[in-house]
Amino acid sequence: MKDRLLLLGYAIAVIAATSVHNPWWLAAGLLLVAVLAGRQAPTIGWRALRAVLFFSLVISIGYAAGALFGQAVSLDYLILVNIRVYLLIFLTFTLAAKIDILRALSFSRNLTYLVTLVLSQIIPFRRLFEDLRLAAESRRLRRLRLRERYLQSAAAAVHLFDRAEHDAREIALAMRSRGFFQPDATDNAPGD
């Protein structure tokens, strides 16, 4: 029950954070989430900051560039967007650590299946990602140029994408083989 309430609270908080347009209220929300995170607040806060840094920088620099070309700029709006994004990520990371998502969604069998599938994919992907990182490190003899780093990242992304696509197809076939997808009365195409 606790997990379900937390998940409901999370959904309400997300709607609230996207509906409120006063930076002070959002800052207060941020403070509240930090209190909720307790002793983990600095760790989660830092992780959230790293996660949004690129996005926020791009938006802010783009906005500043617009100002240079004479576009009307609202500093309040820029602050509002950045606080909102940071609040949403901080909130998500905080609650992800507190909610047992399987228990929270246990009211729906289909949602539980979906989350189980997602979780079962996250673990092998985390391992694969770690292996890609270590293999790149193992073959690095000097500081790589930007182009070489892009090349490595692109190859890793292609590999991860291929793997995800292959695994998704296999999982879908396995689920079909175990009768998860009930055939439609009109569905008589066995090879699709």
Binding site: L128, L134, A135, S138, R139, L141, L151, A155, A156, H159
Partner: protein
């Protein structure tokens, strides 16, 4: 040459993967690392390659401790990465260049070596991948990828080869070829496998990791392979009921893996 001193490794989640592992590899020695799935063979190779820092204990190469500080020194980092190389179990993780040629040339280009073209052609010929040089690595078969990865490592002329299940993606013909190829190499090699029928071909000495993540055995491989109690303790043989034609036996039978 390469030494693990009381090396333990624990995952951030707390799970212990290696416990007080202690051994030394001599120059040009060929050693096999055996162990059932999940005993920590791959992790041990990554620790020896300086990719994962041991939770406790140390790894030494040529008398120098391999830690973050040592690997931050550009000169030592380059020397260590050139002399101690690791072949990953999944070759896909090691391939990121647009062509096989670029893949093999990746190391020498970083080092600024001369005659990169000649070196690439030499090692591509040695590994039997010369006809694939213009192809993209991702389009190759598992065995071909494994050969490309090996060529990309051997072109650096390393002193220590750490090979993680090198035959895992190979068909029987390629496996036979690899066994012969590795036997002719002069480098120190540490090869992981759980294939007992091949283990004796990779070296004379074996290290065995037990399911408690400790070093269960370090000694001559033939002694280990003929010791059924040790093989069973290491979970490297299994027993099951089986039949001979129409006769059904109710006794247990021991088979090798793979």
């Amino acid at each position: 040459m390469l030494q693990a001193i009381e090396v333990s490794y624990r995952l951030p989640e707390g799970q212990e993967i290696l416990r007080a592992i202690d051994f030394r590899l001599a120059r040009e020695e060929k050693v096999v690392l055996l162990g059932a799935n999940g005993t920590g063979k791959s992790t041990l190779l990554k620790v020896l390659n300086g990719l994962l820092p041991p939770t406790t204990g140390t790894v030494c190469y040529d008398g120098r401790v391999i830690d973050r500080a040592a690997l931050r020194e550009a000169a030592f980092h380059q020397r260590f990465r050139r002399e101690v190389v690791l072949l990953f179990q999944n070759p896909d993780t090691m391939l990121f260049n647009p062509t096989v040629f670029d893949e093999i040339a990746f190391g020498p280009r970083q080092l600024g070596l001369d005659d990169v073209d000649g070196r690439v052609h030499h090692w591509a010929g040695e590994l039997g991948v010369a006809p694939l040089l213009e192809r993209t690595p991702f389009g190759l078969s598992g065995g071909e990828k494994q050969r490309v990865c090996l060529a990309a490592l051997l072109i650096l002329e390393p002193k220590v080869l750490l090979l993680d299940e090198p035959t895992a993606n190979m068909d029987p013909r390629s496996t036979g070829w690899l066994v012969d190829f590795l036997a002719d190499l002069k480098q120190t090699t540490l090869v992981t496998t759980h294939n007992l029928s091949l283990a004796g071909e990779f070296g004379d000495r074996c290290l065995v990791l037990g399911e408690d993540h400790r070093l269960l055995y370090d000694g001559p491989i033939q002694d280990f392979l003929s010791d059924h109690d040790r093989l069973t303790a290491a979970n490297l043989v299994h027993r099951h009921r089986h039949r001979h034609g129409a006769t059904e036996h109710s006794h247990f039978h021991i088979h090798e893996w793979d």
